[in-house]
């Protein structure tokens, strides 16, 4: 087992528990133990864009410090941290860059990092789980597949923060293939669709859910018209806006047909032949199980 530091983020412990459970189980199957530090804090979700902001970098950098402690204590095998949530990934990665590239702000962040035993060195590398899989090799992922997802047409929804801004994304910003490659390794058919990188409306879901419903409708309809049976995502906010928010889409667009949206790790767990505790399809809205049963991928 390779031991890799893991930053869950708060939503992975609640609404997106199915994301975490499926990821931990699939990692284990691939010989990776995801090691969560004893304590961590919310990363703040959004990267602070203003040039004079120091305060909001403290939370992400403090998390990276926790990972450095794990590494110093010999509890993990590398100076890396893996995230699942696309927004955590983006926030940790960008704060790390600010820390390493802006000496003035680095100094201020250090000066404000109270009650810590050590100073953060800047040397932790922030990765997304998909990058870990790509690094390992899709052939290796394929070796763990016992139930290929043959006949399942899946549209990968990248959203924004896995790919943007330039220089931060986990793959080519204009023409990403990482999710498609993963789907192919699982035996599924990847469906390219025009809106796979179009924003779902993000945090506007809190006070402008009708607008999010408009965006979700466009994205989901496009995926469906391109031949997809379902969509996958790597972000709990995308999942919420495209999944549970379909009830709002239905209210606004009577012609709309619901379509399942799951985390990519759930499909991995299914293809790896893992049990219900690892796939946790009970946590998704709309329920993806009828479709998966139809396709002969789940028992009745």
């Amino acid at each position: 087992m390779t031991r890799l530091a893991y930053y869950p983020g708060c939503t992975l412990k609640t609404n997106a528990k199915n994301f975490e459970d499926s990821a931990i189980a699939t990692a284990e199957k691939l010989g990776i133990e995801l090691v969560e530090p004893e304590r961590w804090n919310c990363c703040g979700t959004v990267h602070s864009l203003s040039t004079d902001d120091v305060m909001h970098h403290l939370a992400p950098i403090r998390n990276l410090l926790r990972m450095e402690e794990l590494s110093n204590a010999g509890e993990v095998d590398s100076k890396q941290v893996v995230t699942l949530c696309a927004m955590c990934y983006n926030t940790l990665k960008r704060s790390n860059m600010v820390f390493n590239e802006d000496s003035d702000r680095k100094k201020k962040i250090q000066d404000n990092m109270y009650k810590e035993d050590i100073q953060y060195s800047g040397n932790i590398e922030v990765l997304h789980y998909l990058e870990v899989l790509r690094e390992m090799g899709w052939d290796k992922v394929k070796e763990s597949v016992v139930k290929p997802l043959n006949g399942l047409k899946v549209a990968p929804y990248y959203g924004c923060l896995l790919l943007r801004p330039r220089g931060i994304g986990i793959d080519d910003t204009d023409n990403p293939t990482i999710m498609e490659d993963m789907l192919e390794a699982l035996g599924a058919e990847a469906v390219k669709f025009a809106y796979s990188q179009k924003c779902c409306g993000s945090y506007n879901t809190v006070h402008m859910k009708e607008v999010v419903a408009d965006l979700a409708y466009k994205i989901l309809k496009q995926a469906e018209e391109s031949g997809a049976d379902m969509l996958i995502t790597a972000c709990p906010l995308c999942e919420y806006n495209l999944g549970p928010r379909q009830s709002e889409v239905e209210k606004k667009y009577p012609v709309f047909k619901t379509i399942p949206v799951v985390y990519f790790t759930q499909l991995m767990a299914l293809a790896f032949g893992l049990d219900e505790e690892a796939t946790v399809f009970t946590g998704n809205k709309p329920d993806p199980r009828p479709l998966l049963r139809d396709k002969g991928l789940l028992e009745e």
Binding site: T11, V46, S50, T51, C160, P165, C199, S202, N204, V206
Partner: protein, 139 residues
């Protein structure tokens, strides 16, 4: 043969200049690079909710027009960075939107309030939605 260096020369009042300088400083972006091609606006997912297109907001900042702070645009922007990857002049428009929001938020303004949500809505919404919403839209 040598050509004179092109430089955008604008005559601006001190108020306009102050505003433009503040936005430049906070965003770290040079809006004078913008040549109004409109690429940022054409890919923006939120234009149907905006009063001014993103390219127009950039133009307003170029001219030092403080009205940009009163636009609905800066509040519906989702920080999706689609404009950033589209701009042929390398301007990160999302950073400019943020600077404009910050100038308003730092006067203790709250665009949204969780008090407007029903208990059911509050229970159903994931933390990631609430935390990011509050971070972006409240002081």
């Amino acid at each position: 043969m040598s050509y004179p260096k092109s430089k955008l020369v604008l005559r601006m009042g001190p108020k306009n200049k102050y505003f433009k300088d503040r936005v430049t400083e906070l965003s770290g972006e040079n809006v004078d690079l913008c040549f109004q091609c409109g690429a940022c606006s054409s890919g923006c997912p939120m234009t149907q909710e905006m009063d001014y297109l993103p390219s127009k907001i950039i133009r307003m900042v170029q001219l030092g027009l403080e009205e940009a702070l009163e636009s609905k645009t800066i509040w519906v922007c989702t920080t999706c960075f689609n404009c950033e990857v589209s701009c042929p002049r390398g301007i990160d428009i999302a950073n400019v939107m943020e600077a404009l929001r910050q100038l308003v938020l730092r006067k203790k303004y709250n665009r949204v309030s969780l008090d407007d949500l029903s208990p059911e809505e509050l229970r159903d919404l994931p933390q990631i939605a609430i935390v990011s919403n509050q971070r972006k839209l409240t002081a």
